[in-house]
């Protein structure tokens, strides 16, 4: 098979699996138990936390392990906003219109709670102009959430610049007693797709909260982390015990936490080399795909993740292409509505200014460590054939 959907998930690395195994059958104790079996598990978690914090250049206490990227995003957003709930109409939050659903739908819920929301629009490449963030900031803005790199089109945002703008704004803005301390607006970034390819040093990035996910970096699924800067106030989503300093109650998933730390270490170790290798393959693949007429590149030509290729094949529908490739053992994903539960095509592709008709034909190919030039060449051949066949039966008049 040729797996080109690494942004959806990745296979768990053998080394990761090996590191995890003892925590299922050998050191299975509850990390909160005070006897040796529990202490052993606790030690593994704290060791994992130390290693993750070393990579992120932060304190171990600033790492909260969660059950994945979606949970980390929700915890960041609702965790910050909870204390403003009773006076929601007084406060303002910012995000972009190409966020992952975990952020976007959390913001829709904030809107329902009465908060004022600004959705920053991206340009035709999916890029946010940091000046638009500056223009959107208000004295009552308490949260800004901007993703680091987009999961569909791979566009990389100017996170450092955005962080600096937000930090500078803290000195001039002031609202009321609730949000008086100098930590508002809080800056959150979803870095699920960035890990393994981009700098995730939280010191460099200037983020207050940052989401990470295990299953995109050859780690297990349903495990993630939220980096939370020490001075940021956060309310837990769940009510329960005092695990993860009370920010994430529930018995810890020791094996997955260990696996996540291992996966993140491997991702960091391979980052530089793998990024160079995949960038070359990415640019070659894009060049070959654009040789098919009426094909549009979605996202930025350079400011994009090394493993992401997203194109629109006009006049045809994405699910049909996907299934034709599936038959040949090639696995990709599409922004077509036919692939989702809604009737609308990808909100990200639409945000680039593409019309719905074309957005239905958008396809995402995301490469990974198993990707070779040989499999890309085969993919190109089969894509060309599928596009030709589907265009031949398409009812849309080609201009």
């Amino acid at each position: 098979m040729i797996y080109l959907d690494h942004a959806a998930t990745t296979q768990t690395d053998k080394e990761v699996l090996k590191a995890m195994k003892p925590y299922y059958d050998k050191y299975f104790g509850n990390p909160s138990s005070l006897y040796a079996l529990g202490r052993e598990a606790k030690k593994a978690i704290e060791d994992a936390r130390q290693r993750v914090s070393d990579i992120l250049h932060c304190e171990p206490e600033e790492i909260i392990f969660t059950a994945g990227g979606t949970e980390s995003d929700n915890l960041a957003i609702f965790g910050v906003m909870e204390k403003f709930l009773t006076n929601s109409e007084k406060y303002h939050c910012i995000t972009s219109n190409i966020e992952h659903p975990a952020v976007l739908y959390s913001y829709k819920k904030l809107e329902k709670f009465g908060f004022n929301i600004t959705y920053i629009k991206v340009d035709q490449y999916g890029l946010i102009n940091p000046k638009d963030i500056l223009r959107a900031l208000r004295p009552n803005t308490v949260l800004v959430s901007i993703m680091y790199a987009n999961n569909e089109i791979g566009t990389i945002q100017k996170i450092i610049e955005i962080g600096r703008i937000i930090k500078n704004y803290r000195h001039i803005q002031r609202i009321d007693t609730l949000a008086k301390n100098s930590n508002y607006p809080v800056f959150h970034s979803d870095a699920c797709q960035a890990a393994g390819y981009l700098d995730i040093n939280t010191d460099d990035l200037g983020v207050d909260l940052m989401t990470l996910n295990g299953s995109k970096i050859y780690g297990p699924k349903q495990i993630g982390a939220l980096f939370k800067k020490k001075n940021i106030q956060l309310a837990p989503l769940l009510c329960g015990g005092s695990q993860e300093n009370g920010f994430r109650p529930g018995t810890e998933n020791t094996a997955s936490i260990v696996g996540f730390a291992k996966a993140l270490e491997l991702a960091e170790k391979n980052k530089a080399k793998e990024s160079i290798r995949l960038k070359k393959l990415r640019d070659y693949f894009i060049m070959e795909l654009l040789k098919i007429d009426n094909t549009i590149l979605n996202g930025h030509p350079e400011k994009r993740l090394p493993n992401n290729v997203n194109v629109t094949f006009r006049y045809i529908e994405g699910e049909s292409i996907m299934l034709k490739l599936d038959k040949e053992g090639i696995y990709v994903s599409t922004g077509s509505a036919c692939h989702s539960q809604s009737l609308d095509p990808s909100h990200v592709i639409l945000a680039l200014g593409q019309n719905s008709e074309d957005a239905h034909g958008s396809m995402r190919f995301t490469m990974g460590k198993d990707t070779t030039k040989k499999n890309l060449d085969k993919t190109i051949r089969i894509v060309k054939k599928a596009v030709k066949e589907l265009r031949a039966i398409s009812a849309i008049d080609k201009e």
Binding site: M1, Y3, Q11, N270, K273, E274, Y315, I316, E317, E319, S320, L323, K324, K327, G329, S336, A337, C338, Q341, L343, P345, N355, S356, E357, H360, K369, D370, T371, T372, A392, I393, S394, A395, I396
Partner: protein, 143 residues
């Protein structure tokens, strides 16, 4: 650092085998613009904006009012393509269906013929019956 991935079982499929067959081997496709008197009815429904659009051509025998030929073109997902393909067979088999009967075909009939469709596909992708009715109305107008 490339590693080989194992091929999973390819025999699992999102749709029924009938849908799969019609998607991969569509019947009665109208590849080129037909010559003037080859057909006497044409209907187009749907919109590319919604992700599904189809055109159907029919040749109705003016004496017995049966559909002798039915061809089509579809922009859409696998179930849209398969449902149009199977409909073109339904109306032309056994010497052709009478247009009065063809007018009565519902999406339910087409889905039954396909052996079922996933629930969320039913409303958006089965437009063939509407395209057929539009083609029959077009025939009646010009006849």
């Amino acid at each position: 650092m490339s590693s080989k991935l194992k091929q999973p079982n390819q025999n699992t499929w999102l749709y029924t085998d009938i849908v799969k067959d019609h998607f991969f081997n569509p019947r009665n496709v109208q590849y080129d613009e037909p010559r003037d008197n080859k057909f006497n009815g044409k209907g187009t429904v749907g919109s590319p904006v919604c992700g599904d659009m189809m055109t159907m051509w029919i040749k109705v025998d003016e004496i017995d009012e049966k559909i002798k030929k039915c061809t089509w073109k579809t922009f859409g997902c696998a179930s849209a393509i398969a449902s149009t393909s199977i409909l073109s067979e339904m109306v032309t088999k056994n010497g052709g269906m009478k247009i009065t009967d063809a007018m009565k075909i519902t999406p339910k009939d087409i889905i039954k013929e396909l052996g079922g469709l996933p629930a969320r596909k039913i409303h958006c992708s089965v437009l063939g019956d509407q395209a057929l009715r539009a083609a029959i109305e077009n025939y009646r107008k010009s006849a």
